[in-house]
Symmetry: C2
Subunit: 183 residues, 2 copies
Amino acid sequence: MPHREHSDIIFGNRGMSLEEEINQSNAYYLQKEIAVIHKKPVPIQIVQVSYPKRSAAVIKEAYFKQSSTTDYNGVYKGYYLDFEAKETKNKKSFPLSNFHEHQIKHMKACTRQGGICFTIIKFSVTQQLFLLPAATLFNYWDNQAKGRKSIEKKVIASFGYAINYHVQPLIPYLTYVDKLINK
Amino acid sequence: MPHREHSDIIFGNRGMSLEEEINQSNAYYLQKEIAVIHKKPVPIQIVQVSYPKRSAAVIKEAYFKQSSTTDYNGVYKGYYLDFEAKETKNKKSFPLSNFHEHQIKHMKACTRQGGICFTIIKFSVTQQLFLLPAATLFNYWDNQAKGRKSIEKKVIASFGYAINYHVQPLIPYLTYVDKLINK
């Protein structure tokens, strides 16, 4: 087995998507009874299913539907958490086009009910991770018409929290959710 | 338009599945900004997708996967809610075989995190609805080995709450969630 370099830990697993990294982190949180957070399945419109004898039903025709919610939700210390995870190849800013109107609407509705909403943003070129509270996202989203279609990385770093890759969990985002709770 | 009889209201829409009735109730709660509760999509393992020119991607081969959670979750008054909806044709008791071990495990994990977990049970023959707190379900589930493989309707009525069909929402289950919160 090759020597594992320190940089492997700091910069995460370069081959993994952000989704896989978060799923792995959630599996750790679940196993340690720290939180119950799951990724929602992709919504599918099923058109045709065949039922072969003595084997599992096979979906023969189906289409991807647009989700009416965000990708992740669950419960942590009695709080409802709801978030999206987004990656960008941009270096200096995060384009708002990564979001759909219905996701913002959903997070606003959850916030009104006392849920804790945020986004985990990954700048894939530099492997930098941030947790951005929904309030900042809403502010930029609602002011798009004024011209700015993205959030600068320095704004994200200022209103959000930089997350360093860790070992267990790989992305220790609940540490920063604690900061949102205590605000 | 035919005269709408009183019995239509009391007994609900006989043609609708419990899932449709709950989805309709959740749509009402969402629209009125009372709660944000969604049914999770059915998890699918996608094997083959074709991308025809100038039209939507078509899933050509996929299989149903077992969900690792319950069907419904969301946020209400700052509380995390998590529940299953189950229908039975039985008249006097609800068979525990309607649940899978992983659903019970999931609800136990959510309960430990301070989430509010329950089941909405419909006796379809008599069109009776109940909200049963997870604690009673856990108790019966954990004692199955002792012989009883179902929960009697009278036990459900005693430890849970009978829900009468209403107009808006069709199934006013949050009224009974309030009782769980105030316990």
